[in-house]
């Protein structure tokens, strides 16, 4: 699902955020991406989302070489990836329902089909009863769950999460992780960037560790067998 092939990223000014990264996450796999802050986790996710371009090497998502992705194709490419942010990035000028419906609106779904999917997504994260509220009225954990509902409402094959539990207490974090595992069980590939090591250790999924822009070997539970 995600394949990095000798990928490096150097920012203007010479800072090398990623150095010769190689890994492969299979379809249907769930994995953690960890490392100290500044290790390159965010940069790695940005390369997958094409918010940044690799300086060298190749990134493949769903067998598509992102180096060959044109500017015009970029929005359509992103529609296949669900993205969960640390600060959830909800829009406070609209209801929970409308927040979750946004990706469907963009993809041009008709309102009835969209409503059906939004309800299903909100039901899955347990917030169906709050669909008409403004997200600002929700707790941090609930807001993050709305963010997750928005990320999965379009049924993406890949879900990326950037520190999804960064602002949550351990109990809420556990709940969020359970949600991710549930989506993974129905076939969604998931990559979660997190520095919450205790949580990662508890969950026993494959872990990719970055250190100063390099991928550390042998830190994952199931060893990194790929490239």
């Amino acid at each position: 699902m995600i394949k990095f092939d000798a990928v490096s990223k150097r920012y203007p000014g010479g800072h090398e955020a990623l150095n010769n990264i190689n890994f492969h996450i299979e379809k249907g796999e769930i994995a953690f991406l960890t490392g100290h802050s500044g290790a390159g986790k965010s940069t790695l996710l940005k390369l997958i989302m094409q918010m940044e371009k690799a300086s060298s090497g190749q990134v493949f998502v769903n067998n598509q070489n992102l180096n060959r992705l044109s500017k015009r194709q970029l929005p359509y490419f992103r529609r296949n990836i669900g993205l969960v942010f640390q600060d959830h990035q909800l829009l406070f000028d609209r209801s929970v329902f409308e927040n979750v419906a946004l990706p469907l609106q963009i993809a041009g779904f008709d309102s009835r089909e969209a409503a059906r999917r939004v309800s299903a997504a909100l039901d899955k994260v347990g917030l169906l009863k709050k669909e008409n509220q403004n997200p600002i009225a929700l707790s941090g954990g609930e807001q993050q769950r709305v963010g997750i509902a928005r990320a999965v409402v379009n049924k993406p094959a890949l879900l990326l999460a950037d520190e999804p539990t960064g602002n949550l207490d351990p109990f809420l974090s556990g709940e969020i992780m359970e949600l991710f595992e549930e989506f993974n069980r129905v076939g969604v590939s998931i990559l979660i960037a997190s520095h919450d090591l205790s949580l990662i250790a508890k969950l026993q999924h494959r872990t990719l560790t970055l250190d100063h822009g390099r991928m550390m070997q042998g830190t994952s539970k199931p060893a990194i067998t790929d490239i």
Partner: protein, 331 residues
């Protein structure tokens, strides 16, 4: 009954899960786009009304900028019409030589009557002229003391063309006729009016173009603020796969509504001005000649104004979008 096959056709893809999705997305591209346009058009208008205070200010600004040249344009049209009315009404007076006989006068009048650019003639004989002068001037007694009539016979000619150059040619032709002493026709002031109107028209056009740019810039700046206000939304929309045109659309519609609203207000302003002016203008016109009708803003004019203003608003928004939207990228 007729509706039932349609209904089943529609429902069918909902039963099968997998192919439905791809089919839905493919066939729905156009209708999805249409739906989005509809939604965005209504939503952006909604937003303008929800911030009515600020929107009205912008609308008023546009309205004034549009109403000014529009009003001037209308005034000019009316003056032009007024000028051409005078053209038609203006008569040429031919003063005959004093020794012209009655038969000679009639012969000249007859030949003028068949002239292609003359619509009518009126002969005022020497004695008629004298009577008129006596009656109107109050110098009757002085004139009766003279033993010869000092007034010439006059043929008053009404040209059938209002065009200045044709009238001028006619005047020259008449002046060269036998027994004609002099020809009087005051077209100098008409020509001046014509030139002044031409100049005023140019100025109005220039003003209009300038103010049109002003409208586009006002809308552009207002839309820039709207873009700034919705920066977070733009970032999120781009991250979940919104295309550039999807992101731009609400702002383009905002510009369109600013333009159309401003245009609408401008026509209301101009029509109110018409209403205020109507009374005095028709009174003034009555003093000259009866058939002057005030040219007003017609339905097609209003339509054109709205179209133009809508375009200007859209264009201003587009400039703003081009400049500011592309700089907002998720980081």
């Amino acid at each position: 009954m007729a509706a039932s096959p349609k209904a089943t056709k529609r429902k069918k893809p909902h039963i099968v899960d997998k192919p439905k999705r791809s089919k839905h997305v493919k066939s729905g591209v156009l209708s999805g786009l249409l739906r989005n346009h509809q939604h965005v058009a209504v939503d952006s208008l909604d937003r303008l009304f929800s911030t009515a205070g600020a929107s009205i200010l912008t609308w008023a600004m546009i309205a004034i900028a549009v109403a000014l040249p529009l009003f001037l344009f209308l005034v000019l049209q009316n003056l032009q019409q007024f000028g051409s009315n005078i053209d038609e009404a203006t008569q040429i007076s031919i003063y005959m030589e004093l020794d012209t006989s009655e038969t000679e006068l009639l012969a000249v009048q007859n030949s003028l009557n068949s002239h292609p650019t003359i619509s009518s003639t009126n002969l005022i004989s020497q004695s008629q002229a004298l009577e008129e002068f006596q009656a109107l001037s109050g110098f009757g007694d002085v004139l009766s003391g003279l033993n010869e009539n000092p007034l010439p016979a006059v043929i008053v000619v009404t040209p059938n063309s209002g065009f200045l150059n044709q009238v001028r040619a006619l005047v020259e032709e008449l002046g060269s006729l036998n027994k004609v002493d002099s020809v009087q026709y005051d077209f100098d002031w008409l020509q001046r009016l014509d030139e002044i109107l031409n100049l005023a028209q140019r100025l109005t056009l220039m003003l209009g173009v300038l103010l049109a740019f002003g409208v586009a810039l006002v809308v552009g700046n207002t839309v820039r603020l709207a873009i700034e206000n919705r920066r977070d939304e733009i970032v999120v929309v781009k991250l979940v796969g919104g295309t550039n045109s999807y992101v731009a659309r609400p702002f383009l519609y905002t510009g369109l509504w600013y333009g159309v609203g401003g245009g609408l207000l401008a026509t209301v302003l101009v029509m109110s001005a018409q209403l205020v002016m109507q009374g005095p203008v028709s009174q003034l016109a009555g003093l000259y000649d009866g058939d002057f009708v005030l040219i007003k803003l017609g339905l097609s004019d209003i339509f054109n104004v709205l179209l133009l203003c809508g375009f200007l608003g859209w264009f201003g928004a587009w400039l703003s979008v081009l400049r500011h939207l592309r700089t907002i990228e998720p980081k």
